[in-house]
């Protein structure tokens, strides 16, 4: 196997008490692209995230990042290697200020207080939380908590950012704000799009957003058999 791949997940399976949550999922991620991992509720998206970031250990299969095996590593080691995830259910450090929350992420790359604080201000400004930088995270609204989750992850200087349902629980206006923020990150890094669909723990489609949207098995997974997509 060539070792210069960015992220490769190969035949990974994970079951909980005999119930397969992820079975034989393989996917490749290239440097510089945004990969959308979609699927209906309970498809196994979060489980796959947990497997990649070390919160769960795969039963079988290989996960490699830049030629190094990730299976068996602790989450903080994987974070040091450059993979940072956010949580679907946000986990702010409630009693700490927004700035301190972000500073925890900054300390991933530096032990120096001044440097960490400088970087934290930069990121707080980038995600638009600078007015609330000194407020406790518990006082933030849901969309702001999502921003904070993103900000903390960015602060660790990741090479690969795994966003787990950054939009869940938001109304359309708030969703657009987060989308704008993700676009901003994309522009800053020059990324392109691709989508992978998983359903019942199995990978069922892989391609650019338009092809995937027209794929019959994807339509079936979301809308049921017999559904069709009105084409223009």
């Amino acid at each position: 196997m060539e070792s210069n791949r960015f992220l490769s997940v190969l035949n990974v399976s994970k079951s909980f008490r005999g119930l397969a949550a992820i079975s034989n999922v393989s996917l490749e991620l290239n440097p510089g692209e945004i990969l959308g991992l979609i699927g209906p509720n309970g498809a196994g998206k979060t489980t796959l995230f947990n497997l990649i970031t070390g919160f769960l250990r795969a039963d079988s299969g290989e996960i490699e990042f830049l030629g190094k095996n990730l299976v068996g590593l602790e989450p903080h080691q994987i974070c040091k290697m450059g993979i940072t995830r956010t949580f679907q259910i946000v986990k702010p450090f409630s009693h700490l200020s927004t700035l301190e929350n972000v500073a925890v992420g900054c300390y991933n790359r530096t032990a120096d207080l001044k440097e960490a604080e400088e970087k934290a201000w930069e990121i707080v400004q980038f995600v638009g939380l600078n007015k609330k930088a000194l407020d406790p995270a518990s006082s933030l609204t849901t969309p702001d908590r999502k921003r904070l989750e993103l900000a903390r992850a960015l602060a660790t200087v990741p090479r690969l950012l795994l966003l787990d349902e950054v939009m869940s629980g938001l109304n359309p206006t708030e969703e657009h704000e987060i989308i704008d923020l993700v676009r901003k990150i994309r522009e800053a890094m020059g990324l392109s799009d691709r989508i992978v669909v998983i359903h019942h723990g199995v990978c069922i489609a892989d391609g650019d957003p338009r092809t995937v949207g027209e794929d019959n098995s994807v339509i079936e997974a979301y809308l049921g058999k017999g559904a069709y997509l009105a084409k223009d």
Binding site: T53, K91, K114, W121, A133, T156
Partner: protein
């Protein structure tokens, strides 16, 4: 300068010279206190300082790193017994004994800590494991003749000697405990402003989120345990030298664990001054009610219970939490 970013550092904020001056004046005033106070009040001050040191020990693990220990008497007892046995049997100076106490306390802490934290035990489970280990040593010290069994150990008074940490007068203990307390407060105050201090808080607030951001949570819990166990063991040694008597109940007993943890909780867990404030309120209260209700031994425990219920209901962040709220309100009203 970015928008909304204040001039001064927000993570590593130091104290203004006015505050340093006030602290300096208070510390200076404390040095004259033993000559103006009657001996029984000096005794209460010593107990306040001593329980602040141990409360600060508990605070590092329980208040900052969020690992609630219900068995810190384990370290207190190990500290008290180690130095006392070395002194009684080998005549070793308690100052050197204190180093051994510290070492043994830390080893024990790392052992119990690794057992629990390796498997992600926290909250009530960790609290009970600490209680269980404290009780194991309680039982051993009750039944083992070589360490005095249930009768405990009397430390022979050999007269005033700095090397033996024995003084007929209370004043030297006053200064020893005062400066150790200042040291403990300074240590935690410095710690708050480092990466380690912030990592402790992150671990307390959310273990998984901290891991995801690159914090080696197991390592930092073990570091917190080391500092906590060491500080509490030192407190145990001084306590033994001061009272010249230890027995299983007053060292390893459950009540002692509660005595250690109740002060930082009431004062404000996870704050530098919390253990001191809690100790200032509770220690005199405990001593006076003990005097007032001599024939009813448990009255001060009932008062502790009532205070604890009140604090948990109305001041979940302790006295420091209240002070911070009042302070912010005042500042907002002013401008």
């Amino acid at each position: 300068m970015r928008e909304h970013q204040p001039q001064e550092s927000c993570l590593g904020r130091g104290l203004s010279w006015q505050k340093w001056l006030i602290i300096g004046l208070i510390v200076a005033a404390l040095h004259f206190l033993p000559w103006t106070f009657p001996p029984q009040y000096v005794h209460i001050m010593i107990m306040i300082f001593l329980f602040t040191i141990m409360g600060q020990g508990w605070n590092i693990l329980g208040g900052y790193a969020g690992q609630f220990s219900f068995g810190h008497s384990l370290f207190f007892g190990l500290g008290a017994y180690t130095s006392t046995l070395m002194f009684v049997h080998w005549g070793l100076s308690p100052w050197i004994g204190m180093v051994f106490s510290c070492f043994i306390g830390i080893m024990m802490g790392l052992f119990v800590g690794y057992l629990s934290f390796r498997f992600g035990l926290s909250g009530p489970f960790f609290a009970l494991i600490m209680l269980a280990f404290a009780e194991v040593f309680h039982m051993i010290s009750i039944s083992w003749k070589a360490v005095g069994a249930a009768l405990g150990l009397l430390i022979p008074l050999k007269g005033t000697s700095i090397a033996l940490m024995q003084f007929v007068d209370k004043k030297p203990f006053y200064f020893i405990t005062l400066w150790m307390m200042i040291g403990a407060l300074y240590l935690v105050w410095r710690m708050e402003k480092t990466r380690m201090g912030l990592y402790f808080l992150a671990v307390r607030e959310d273990n998984d989120a901290a891991e995801a951001l690159g914090v080696n949570t197991l390592k930092y819990k073990m570091v917190a345990m080391t500092l906590s166990a060491g500080l509490t063991s030192i407190g145990g040694t001084i306590y033994a030298q001061y009272l010249l008597y230890i027995d299983p109940d007053i060292t390893f007993g459950v009540m002692n664990s509660i005595e250690i943890l109740i002060r930082p909780i009431i004062g404000g867990p996870g704050t530098v001054l919390g253990p001191l404030l809690g100790s200032l309120v509770l220690t005199p209260l405990a001593e006076f009610t003990r005097l007032a209700f001599q024939s009813y031994g448990g009255v001060y425990l009932m008062i502790y219970g009532a205070i604890l219920v009140g604090v948990i209901m109305f001041l979940p962040d302790g006295i420091m939490g209240l002070a911070k709220r009042v302070f912010y309100k005042m500042r907002k009203e002013v401008g």
